[in-house]
Amino acid sequence: MRSPARSLPYGTMAGIMTLLIAATMTWYVCSGLLPWEYLGQAGTPLFDAARVTGSAGLMVLLFVGTMFSTLASANGCINDASRAWFSMGRDRYLPSWFGAVHPVYRTPYRSIVFLVPIALIFALGAPLDQVVTFSILSGLLGYTFMTFNMVMFRRKWPLDTIKRGYVHPLHPLPVIVLLTLCAAAYFAVFLGYGTQLSAMMCFYIVASLWFHFRRYRFVRRGDQFTMPWPKPVGY
């Protein structure tokens, strides 16, 4: 990255603005065409809204858009997720069996073969809104951990102890804002999807306990830490 100090805020803001504008336009148009009570329950709300317009061109456009978004999701499920498992297998966070590379295709074939059926079960066997909720809640959990990580990172390596490409401004204000937003999102999710939220928390707590008491002894600790930094404060 040529200039993290410029690229990071620019990329973050551009991403947020794109998402906000696109999402607001979608909600505005769809809720103008169909009652929100229907949209909230529909499996294919965008396509249903397009059908109401009676425009064949719009329906075809949405079909093509759906195909592209499906391809993007398939890329994520098949290529990126399998590589994440491959890396975790090599670092022993998961069984090293997942760290194998196919001799011909040079792909993490065991991870792909293992994850594709799981992706298919989620895609075909589970209700769409439940899957999406689970996915979004997992992302929300990631953002929540980010707040604690940012505080710990700044405490372990205070300013001027390492060379930083980007310094988070007004620390810890962004952390507090993010944590407040996460808390508000959890509360809103609890009101509508309390069961899913509880199920997700149970899943991650069980997975964390398994990792802490069983898996962590196999992890090659320190292998991932390769930055030429001084020892963190307190160590």
Binding site: S87, R90, D91, P103, R106, P108, M227, P228
Partner: protein, 232 residues
């Protein structure tokens, strides 16, 4: 009804066309891989070219002193959010096992380098200061002098950001360099691996071989300083 039939026919035709195109593209890509090291083969008398299971060529030749050089190409798509990389791997095999430790360095490690020898070495060491993050490991048998000499060599070599790995072992040395980077659009859109190279440059192979030779000498010298610049 007609709309449904038309749409089904269109989808079937599109799938057939995409399948045919994918197969022909794949075959063309495999055929293109085979000639990548043809020009580099001129560097070595009696060079032999064979093919790996992924259809990339493997060039085996000998230096003037009889040591074997093996030149390979590896496609790496294991790191997410990074373009596919084509690595050039040069292995120099000594005539007989040398009395020296196994010690190596890997630039910008992610843990996903399945082709790396450094990850298999048991002892973690403090790397020399470079612009890139560096993982340096050894088998633990090296003396302080040997470690310092190797670190000095690595510091010079890794000032070039296209160098990925350098390893010294009793049986030989190894250098891994970037040979090409995948095409951005093909990767971002469908995660395809396309390298816009028709031949690996002779200069690149020559440079990697020179570096392997320099690594081979760096722990053999006693007091005389091996000019690390000769590797560049």
């Amino acid at each position: 009804m007609i709309t449904t039939i038309s749409l089904s026919a269109f989808i079937a035709a599109a799938c057939a066309w995409m399948g045919k195109r994918a197969i022909s593209d794949h075959r063309a890509a495999l055929a293109k891989r085979k000639g990548l090291l043809d020009e580099a083969a001129r560097l070595f008398p009696e060079a032999r070219i064979s093919f790996a299971p992924d259809h990339f060529p493997i060039l085996v030749g000998r230096l003037e002193d009889g040591r074997q050089v093996r030149v390979e190409l590896l496609a790496d798509t294991m790191v997410t959010r990074r373009l596919p990389q084509l690595w050039l791997r040069v292995t120099l095999r000594e005539l007989r096992e040398c009395n020296r430790p196994a010690i190596g360095a890997l630039a910008r490690p992610t843990g996903a380098e399945y082709y790396s020898l450094v990850h298999d070495l048991p002892e973690w060491m403090a790397p020399p200061e470079t612009d890139a993050s560096l993982l340096m490991r050894s088998d633990g048998s090296g003396t302080t002098w040997q470690v310092e000499r190797a670190a000095m060599m690595f510091r010079n070599l890794f000032s070039d950001p296209t160098l990925k790995e350098a390893v010294i072992s009793p049986r030989g040395t190894r250098v891994i360099r970037q040979a090409a980077q995948g095409e951005r659009a093909a990767y971002l859109f469908l995660r395809q691996i396309r390298f816009a190279v028709t031949a690996i440059s002779v200069d690149l192979v020559q440079k990697a071989v020179s570096e392997a030779k320099a690594l081979s000498q760096v722990l053999n010298a006693s007091e005389s300083i091996v000019a690390v610049d000769e590797a560049a």
